[in-house]
Point group: C2
Chain length 352, copies 2
C-alpha cells in the first residue's frame, strides 16, 4: 500500500453492515465471529487491557474501550442512555476503529451498533459451547429486546440449540422476537412468566434492559446442571440475578476488574471467586466438571471482543472488496508541509 | 431534529477541511479558534479532565484524548510515530468526534490533522497574547516543520507579530516555511543558527520534531523580557530547553498532571512551580508582572483545545451547511428491534 492508499480509511456504514451480514449470512457471521473471539481469547495475555474510559452524566455514559495485541489497535465508542428509548432513540449506539500499531494509521472505521449485537451473541455462544452440558438443546430467554434474536441464533448455530422459550415483562417484545425468528428453524414457545420459561431449559440467558436492580432470576428457578448467560447486568447498579444463584454457581467472566464493577458479581464481595473464560480455553482453568454443576457466564462485554469483531469485519471488507473510503488522514506530498497542502489547494481553486 | 436526522453524523474530511479553511480564510480561522479556546479556558473548572489514554508500542503511541463540559463530549484519536516520516507517512495523524452528552449521539466526526495544526497555533497565540510584552513584534521560530507556518500566522493575526526569524537544522525546512509565508505580510529573515534567530526577538517559539532530548535553546540565548512558546517538547523523553531557562522563567502550562509528564518541565522536580494558563484568564493568577520577566508557555496540547476546535468546526459546518453525512448510527423504527431492521432489509432486497 502506498501512503496515499493509507490516507483513505475504509468505512462500513449501517447499510453496508446490513448488506454484508445478509450476503455472508447471519448465522455464518455469528459462527465466524465466535471463532475470531475464541482465537483472541486464546492469546489473551498478549493484549493491552485497560478499563473503559467512561464519562458519566445525569442521563447516561459515554465510553471509550481501547485494546491492542501489539500488531493492531482497536477502540469502540459506545454510549448508554436508558432514557433514549422513550425519545425513539437507541439506548446504545456505537462505532469503532481498527488501526495499525506500526504506523498508527487507522485501517477501518465502522458502525458498531449492529456489530456489537453480533459479537455479544457470539461471545455468549463461545461461553455456552465451553460451559453448557453436552447435548444442551433448550434455551430460555428472559428479556426479548434488541439482543435476544442474536443470542438465540448464535446459540443455535454454535451450540446446537433447537428449542427456545421466551419471556419478557412486555408481551410486545416477545411477539417481536418470535416473529423475527419465525424462519430460524428454532421451535419457539412463548411463556407467561420467567418461572415457566426456565422449565426444562438446559441454558438460561437473561438480557433485560432496565438500568436498575431487577431480579429476573431467583434461586429456586435454577435447577442442577443449567448453564446461565447473564448478559443484561452490565453496568454499575444493574443486575438481574439473585445473589443466592451466584453462590451456588461457578462463575466465569471476561475480565475480572471490569466485571466486579459492572457484572452480576458487583453484588458479591471483592474477592468472590471467579474463573476467567480465556483460562478455560487455554487449559489453565477447569470449565464444567460434572452434569449437576451450575455454570454462569457473567458477561459484560469487553474491549477484546470488539477488537475481534473489527478484525473479522476488516477481513470481510478486504475479502469482498466492500466499504467506502473516507479521506480522513491528511496526506501532504511532504509530511512536513501540511501548510503547503492547503496552499496548493488554494492555487488549484484559483486556477479552476 | 428527528431520530433519523441524528442517525446521520456530519463528517468533515481532509478536502472539506481545506475548503472550509480557504473559504473562511486561514487567519480568520486562527483568530476564531483562539476565541473558542479562550472561552473554554475561561470555564476550565467545568470540564471533565482525564489524562490521555495512551497505547505505547516500539514504534510510537496511539492516544485517545476525551473531555466533556457536561453538555458536549469530545475525543481525539491521535498517533505519534516519529519513524513514519522516513516512510513518507505523517508522524502525527488525527481525527476527532463531538457528541451530545444528553443523548450520547455523535454530532460531528472530523479529520483532525489540519484542525490540530490550527488549534496548536491558536493556543500559542492565546498564551502569547496574555503573556508576551505589549508591543512584541518579532518572533523567532526554531524548527520550521509542519507546525511552523500555523504558529507564525496565528501570532501575526492574534498578537500583531510583524517580523519572523527562521532557523532549522535542515535548511530545506526553512526554505519551505519561507516560501509558504511569502504572501503572509510577515517580514521573514532566514538565520544560520538558533543564536542568530533569537537576536532581537520578543517572542521565541520552539517546535522541533525529533523524539529526543535536543536542547535547541540554551540559557545564554534568552534575554530579559522574552516570551517563549515551547511547543515541541510534548512527550516523555522529548524536551527542547536547557533547564536553566526554566529556572529563570515563570512557567505557564495547560494541565499540570499532563505537562509534568510530557512537557519541558519533565526535566524538573515534581513540585516545580507552574501557573495554569486558565487561571491567568480567570484572574486567579498573575500573568506577566514586568517587562524584564521571562515568560514561558510549556505547551503540550490538551483535550480541551481539541474540544474547542471541534466545537468551532461544528458551528462552521452548521453555519455554512457543509460536510458529508455518514450513516453511522443504526436507526431501527423500534429501538428494540435491531434484528428486524436487518430482516426488513432482507425483504427489500428480495423484492427488488
Amino acid at each position: 500500500m502506498t501512503a496515499s492508499d493509507l490516507a483513505y480509511v475504509p468505512f462500513v456504514d449501517v447499510e453496508e453492515m446490513m448488506h454484508l451480514v445478509l450476503d455472508i449470512g447471519l448465522e455464518t457471521c455469528l459462527a465466524d465471529l465466535t471463532a475470531y473471539i475464541e482465537e483472541d481469547f486464546r492469546r489473551w495475555p498478549l493484549f493491552d487491557k485497560t478499563p473503559r474510559v467512561a464519562s458519566h452524566s445525569r442521563d447516561g455514559v459515554i465510553e471509550l474501550m481501547p485494546t491492542s495485541d501489539g500488531r493492531e489497535y482497536a477502540f469502540k465508542y459506545v454510549n448508554g442512555h436508558p432514557a433514549n428509548m422513550k425519545k425513539g432513540l437507541q439506548t446504545v449506539t456505537a462505532f469503532g476503529l481498527l488501526a495499525d500499531v506500526e504506523s498508527g494509521y487507522p485501517v477501518l472505521l465502522s458502525e458498531m451498533t449492529i456489530l456489537t449485537a453480533l459479537r455479544t451473541g457470539a461471545t455468549s455462544a463461545l461461553a455456552t459451547r465451553i460451559l453448557a452440558r453436552p447435548g444442551s438443546q433448550t434455551l430460555a430467554m428472559i428479556g426479548n429486546g434488541a439482543q435476544s434474536e442474536f443470542q438465540a441464533l448464535a446459540l443455535k448455530t454454535v451450540c446446537g440449540v433447537t428449542a427456545l422459550r421466551l419471556f419478557d415483562t412486555d408481551p410486545e417484545a416477545t411477539r417481536k422476537c418470535m416473529a423475527n425468528l419465525a424462519d430460524s428453524g428454532l421451535a419457539v414457545t412463548i411463556c407467561n412468566s420467567a418461572e415457566e420459561a426456565v422449565q426444562g431449559a438446559d441454558i438460561v440467558t437473561t438480557c433485560t434492559a432496565d438500568k436498575q436492580i431487577a431480579t429476573v432470576l431467583h434461586d429456586n428457578m435454577i435447577g442442577a446442571g443449567v448453564h446461565i448467560n447473564a448478559i443484561g447486568g452490565d453496568c454499575p447498579g444493574k443486575t438481574e440475578l439473585q445473589s443466592d444463584i451466584l453462590n451456588r454457581a461457578d462463575v466465569f467472566v471476561e475480565y475480572p476488574p471490569q466485571t466486579r464493577i459492572e457484572g452480576e458479581i458487583q453484588q458479591m464481595a471483592p474477592d468472590f471467586p471467579v474463573t476467567e473464560l480465556w483460562e478455560v480455553l487455554s487449559g489453565a482453568a477447569e470449565g464444567r466438571r460434572d452434569s449437576r454443576q451450575i455454570t454462569l457466564f457473567d458477561g459484560v462485554g469487553f474491549a477484546i471482543e470488539d477488537f475481534s469483531a473489527l478484525r473479522w469485519l476488516r477481513d470481510q471488507v478486504v475479502r469482498l472488496d466492500r466499504g467506502q473510503r473516507l479521506d480522513m488522514i491528511a496526506d501532504p506530498d511532504d509530511p512536513r508541509d501540511l501548510f503547503g497542502m492547503i496552499e496548493r489547494e488554494r492555487h488549484r481553486r484559483a486556477a479552476a
